[in-house]
């Protein structure tokens, strides 16, 4: 299965600032997904990122708040903009399912906004 390197693993940020999270995949994938996991909750899909096109955002998430880049088939970034304490969560990236291995996830970024 694909191996995903996600950075940073954690960060503490001041409110009003922005943080960019990176995911690097060791193989080419068409679709990448970005999730938010609030404390004690399940995963919520933020957006789907395809290479060469605009990301598709889920209800409740907007591009101005969570801009996504997908410059090639192995890399994507998610920016959390103008952060507030409510943005404190774990953010995970994932790649499209492999027939044998299902979805693969990055190791997650634990974000705390103070």
């Amino acid at each position: 299965s694909a191996v995903i390197s996600q950075k940073p693993s954690r960060d503490i940020c001041q409110r009003g600032t922005s943080l960019t999270i990176q995911c690097q995949v060791d193989s080419q994938v068409t679709m990448m997904f970005w999730y938010r996991q609030q404390p004690g909750q399940s995963l919520t899909l933020i957006a789907t990122a395809n290479q060469g096109s605009e990301a598709t955002y889920e209800s409740g998430f907007v591009i101005d708040k969570f801009p996504i880049s997908r410059p090639n088939l192995t890399f994507s970034t998610l920016t959390v903009s103008n952060m507030s304490p409510e943005d404190s969560s774990i953010y995970l990236c994932s790649v499209e399912p492999h027939p044998n291995y299902g979805y693969t996830f990055g190791s997650g970024t634990r974000l705390t906004v103070v």
């Binding site: 679709m31 997904f33 996991q37 909750q41 399940s42 995963l43 899909l45 789907t48 774990i90 995970l92 994932s94 499209e96 399912p97 291995y101 299902g102 979805y103 693969t104 996830f105 190791s107 997650g108 634990r110």
Partner: protein, 114 residues
């Protein structure tokens, strides 16, 4: 709409014993996939086991097995010979159709008592 329901927020099991985590789902699709993921405190999302809906045989991976009841839309996970390292959040998830989006349950927190 697709839904995944985990009705057990918390479970506990004695080391070396067997525990079953429940999951029910709902989808109108005929072709779908079901997954169990494990998330330890490290927050890494790890695929435990997957089941294709068209397969009647229950999936098995070492100490982990599922009881897939298609008519009842039930997909429970059985962990045999529980180990301390099995302590984690367990999420049931499903996807169907062409959008490749995972639908997640709320999770079950499993404690393993020595």
């Amino acid at each position: 709409a697709q839904t995944v329901t985990q009705s057990q927020p918390e479970m506990s099991v004695q080391e070396a014993e067997t525990v079953t985590l429940s999951c029910t789902y709902d989808t109108s699709e005929s072709d779908y996939y079901l997954f169990w993921y494990k998330q330890p405190p490290s927050r890494q999302m790890i695929l435990v086991i997957r089941q294709e809906a068209y397969k009647q045989q229950n999936a098995t991976e070492n100490r982990f097995s599922v009881n897939f009841q298609k008519a009842a839309k039930s997909f429970s996970l059985k962990i045999s010979d529980s180990q301390l390292g099995d302590a984690a959040m367990y999420f049931c998830a499903a996807y169907a159709g062409n959008n490749r989006k995972l639908i997640w349950g709320l999770g079950t927190s499993l404690a393993v008592n020595p």
